[in-house]
């Protein structure tokens, strides 16, 4: 009825419905979701047909079949008769090992260089700047290959080496270092070590309470050293040195005994640490520079020494700026450890790609990769967010 008498309002009401933000947003979202569902359905149906044509059974059942390949570096016992699943577990462990080792070295390097870039000493500043600007701008993969093919592979072989007193040999088979074989009683030293740490923590808390109550700072350093280092040593001596050193011996053809650190590990470890260290150095520098000059001046006005000013005033404030980007660098290092594939370090991606090539289960393997890396990423960021919020609470 109204359409006949008032044609204009009808069209304008239609237009106003179209221009209504709520309606628009619902329409857009519904369209988006429908398009996405159709797209996913299209992909899934294509994949299903392609898999059926290629005669590939999907599903994770293949994880329980025999792997049949060897892995060069195995933190837990593994032979080629184990299953694909266990091979992948070894890969995950290796990823975690290389990430942990890399994070430790990169952090040390990064902090030293980052502080060095702010040093008053011209040469130190120069060296730090050259390091940062060089390694930040070179792909990590290239650095890995450089260590592996350019340096470690061209070292001499383990034949006819000269004996040396330290028992440390660097050959093209990697780094051979003395192994320490612990007896059963060595547990006592480990316990003493844990006790030392716990005692140090308790004393530190007491000292802090004492300081809050009276304002007097008690020195902690030597007590801590005595407890954490001295106690295990005493326990070790008391239990009668329950450990033997096994030195690698150079015979005519090979090195025997000791621990062999494979060149794959060394090259990956060095390259990742050096690369990430350059980024961490920049983060540290930015963090320290973000603490305003007045804080430093106020600290020296209070009569703090330079060391105290750094430890008590600058670093705690700088840390708040440093932690978030530092987290993402740690995660980057963990993700970059997947480059071990290029030199054959058997981490998750390298093992996974062998499994993928042998079994043809590409979708499943890629899903495992994604799941593992996402788990690591999300849990590390959760932990670091917690740590960050703890640090941020210091702010007043």
């Amino acid at each position: 009825m109204s359409a006949e008498t008032h044609p204009a309002p009808r069209s304008s009401s239609w237009a106003s419905v179209l221009n209504n933000p709520t309606v628009r947003s619902i329409v857009i979202q519904v369209t988006l979701i429908v398009a996405l569902v159709v797209f996913v359905w299209w992909i899934v149906s294509n994949t299903a047909r392609n898999l059926a044509e290629a005669n590939i059974a999907s599903g994770f059942g293949f994880l329980w079949s025999r792997a049949g390949f060897d892995i060069a570096i195995t933190p837990i016992a593994y032979t080629s008769n184990e299953t694909y699943g266990e091979a992948i577990v070894i890969g995950i462990l290796n990823t975690l090992i290389i990430s942990g080792a890399g994070i430790a070295l990169a952090t040390i390097l990064g902090f030293i260089v980052g502080i060095g870039r702010l040093s008053g000493n011209f040469l130190i500043r120069l060296l730090s700047t050259v390091y940062v600007e060089t390694f930040r701008n070179i792909p990590p993969l290239l650095v890995i290959l450089f260590w592996y093919f350019g340096v470690l592979s061209v070292l001499g072989g383990p034949r006819g080496l000269e004996e040396n007193a330290f028992g440390v040999y660097l050959t093209n088979r990697g780094l051979q270092v003395p192994a320490v074989i612990f007896g059963f009683l060595a547990w006592a030293s480990l316990v003493a070590f844990v006790v030392g740490i716990v005692a140090t923590v308790i004393i530190a808390r007491r000292n802090k309470a004492h300081q809050l109550a009276t304002g007097e700072r008690k020195p902690l350093l030597w007590t801590a050293v005595a407890l954490i280092v001295g106690l295990p040593i005493i326990a070790f001596l008391v239990t009668g040195l329950p450990a033997t050193m096994e030195f690698p011996t150079a015979n005519r053809f090979n090195l025997a005994g000791g621990i062999q650190i494979r060149p794959e590990f060394i090259s990956l470890w060095l390259a990742l640490s050096i690369y990430t260290g350059a980024f961490i150095a920049e983060i540290v520098r930015a963090g320290i520079m973000s603490v305003s000059k007045g804080q430093n001046e106020a600290a020296s006005a209070l009569g703090l020494t330079r060391g105290q000013a750094l430890r008590l005033v600058v670093v705690p404030q700088a840390f708040r700026v440093i932690i978030p980007p530092l987290t993402s660098q740690y995660l980057n290092l963990t993700k970059n450890s997947s480059l071990g594939l290029a030199v054959g370090y058997p981490e998750l991606v390298a093992v996974g790609s062998t499994v993928l090539n042998q079994s043809g289960q590409s979708i499943e393997v890629v899903c495992i990769w994604m799941a593992v890396y996402l788990t690591i990423s999300l849990s590390v960021s959760a932990f670091m967010n917690w740590f960050n919020s703890k640090m941020a609470l210091v702010e007043r």
């Binding site: 392609n50 040469l123 070179i138 792909p139 290959l145 991606v349 590409s362 994604m370």
Partner: protein
């Protein structure tokens, strides 16, 4: 009180005493910078030894012990089996491969032409004093990619009719958007309504044509199914109608030509892509070296920036579904290493496609790299969006700008300017990440170097280090100049007011 009489009163201020000898002059500078405290003295001596030893070592390796000429490995072998200095003869011999891969020798001029074009266009855009920035940008982002595609592959792509229809539909869409934003035209006049209807019909029939298999007919050298022909005709009708409407409205004004741009661009694009210029066909598996690195990196940059902007806007959207999808997309790609993404692109993309559709391996790698860096780009841009004060958003709303107008004219220019360093860092990261494509079997710069030192003619102990250091230098040159340029731009664009 006794009056005091001074014998001498200075009329002017006394000149300041000169600083002590030990603090000025070259000696003072050295003392302050190197030997200020005992610790500094020790550090300086240690660092000095490291510097001298390092520089001398590098000099010895790269110049004194190096081999500059030679035709095969014999030149670089050291008597006694040790490894001597750099084997630059290897780099010299393989230089062509490092730059062009195995691109046919007679066609390498095409790559050179592109290198020169790229250098000129980038320089024109990067140097602030060079005029015609807009034209330059259009050439770099619009024309250059098409020219690259035609020159590198040899052109003569065969478009399906559906593709052609789709291109004209896009042109029609842009023109409709342009013309109907004109106040005299609006979206109510009859030709515009016809155009919108025809465009809708075109879109519908192209979608249906994609799902239905039909017999194809050849029309103007393009293969059409009946539906895609309908779609093309509808798109042309839409284009015609809207151009007519715009022409009638803008008659007598200066900006008539503007509305023809989309149609002209599409026609030119189709012309360039399909015409036979007499260039021989070069399949992408022959591409390699620095050229391939640049292809992957530049296509990644070109794709990741707009995609990143969209994702960042999506993540800050008020619509829960859009926001959720953007968050999932971004966090997924940021949580996994690029190499798994490349594996996924390499092994799974072919599975996702309907049968008969094959994806070029290079294209797969480019898709992987682009999606991966888009997620990082999105986070960088989101940082910029968050840094824009709320007043800017509200001001734009108060001016009754639409969402896209608000973003395009008010928010994004400010936000992008704020995060230029972050964007360039993402570009640098992307450039370095392109080296990973060698793992899935493409011969980029790193890949050709890697293949080069496995060449039996050149196996010596010093070849790998030499080749890798050469490659490292090339990567370093690109990344370092990008980062310097970003610092320079940041300073130049700094307007001084920070929120």
């Amino acid at each position: 009180m006794e009056e005091q009489v001074f014998r001498f009163v200075s009329k002017e201020q006394k000149a300041a005493l000169p600083p002590p000898e030990s603090e000025v002059g070259p000696l003072g500078i050295v003392r302050r910078n190197l030997f200020a405290t005992p610790v500094d003295i020790v550090l300086s001596i240690a660092a000095g030894i490291v510097v001298v030893w390092g520089v001398w070592g590098i000099f010895q390796w790269a110049v004194i012990d190096a081999v500059f000429t030679g035709s095969d490995r014999e030149a670089c072998l050291v008597e006694g089996g040790g490894h001597g200095g750099a084997c630059w003869a290897f780099v010299k011999a393989k230089f062509g491969q490092f730059v062009y891969g195995v691109y046919p020798f007679d066609d390498r001029w095409r790559v050179d032409v592109l290198f020169v074009m790229l250098a000129l266009l980038v320089a024109g855009l990067a140097i602030p004093k060079v005029p015609y920035k807009r034209l330059n940008a259009v050439l770099l982002f619009g024309v250059f990619p098409v020219v690259t595609l035609v020159l590198l592959t040899g052109g003569q792509f065969s478009f399906s009719g559906g593709m052609l229809a789709f291109l004209f539909l896009i042109a029609a869409g842009f023109t409709i958007a342009d013309v109907s934003s004109e106040p005299q035209v609006g979206s109510h006049s009859l030709p515009v309504k016809i155009a919108i209807g025809a465009a809708a019909l075109s879109l519908l029939s192209i979608l249906v044509a994609g799902l239905v298999d039909a017999r194809t007919v050849v029309f103007l050298d393009f293969r059409f199914s009946a539906l895609s022909l309908v779609s093309l005709l509808a798109a042309l009708v839409a284009l015609g109608a809207v151009l007519y409407a715009g022409f009638m409205a803008r008659r007598g004004e200066g900006n008539v030509a503007r509305m023809f741009y989309p149609a002209i661009a599409v026609i030119l694009f189709v012309f360039l892509m399909t015409t036979n210029f007499g260039l021989s066909h070069v399949p992408t598996n022959l591409w390699g070296g620095l050229m391939l690195t640049l292809v992957v990196a530049l296509s990644g940059i070109a794709a990741s920036l707009p995609l990143g902007v969209l994702l960042a806007l999506g993540r800050r959207s008020d619509m829960p579904a859009v926001k959720l999808l953007s968050v999932i997309f971004i966090e997924f790609w940021r949580g996994v290493p690029l190499i798994t993404v490349l594996f996924m692109a390499n092994f799974m993309l072919p599975l996702f496609m309907p049968e008969g559709v094959t994806f070029n391996q290079l294209l797969r790698a480019c898709v992987g790299v682009a999606l991966f860096s888009a997620a990082y780009m999105a986070e960088v841009i989101r940082g910029g969006l968050q840094a824009i004060p709320k007043g800017q958003y509200e001001g734009a709303d108060a001016m009754a700008l639409t969402y896209w107008q608000k973003m395009r004219m008010i928010i994004l220019p400010q936000a992008l300017k704020l995060v230029i360093p972050g964007i360039v860092n993402t570009f640098i990261g992307l450039f370095k990440d392109t080296s990973l494509v060698y793992i899935i079997g493409l011969a980029d710069l790193l890949g050709t170097v890697r293949r080069g030192f496995n060449d039996p003619n050149w196996i010596t102990p010093s070849t790998p280090a030499t080749g890798l250091i050469f490659a490292a230098f090339i990567y370093w040159l690109f990344c370092f100049s990008m980062s310097r340029y970003s610092i320079y731009t940041e300073r130049r664009l700094d307007t001084g007011h920070k929120s």
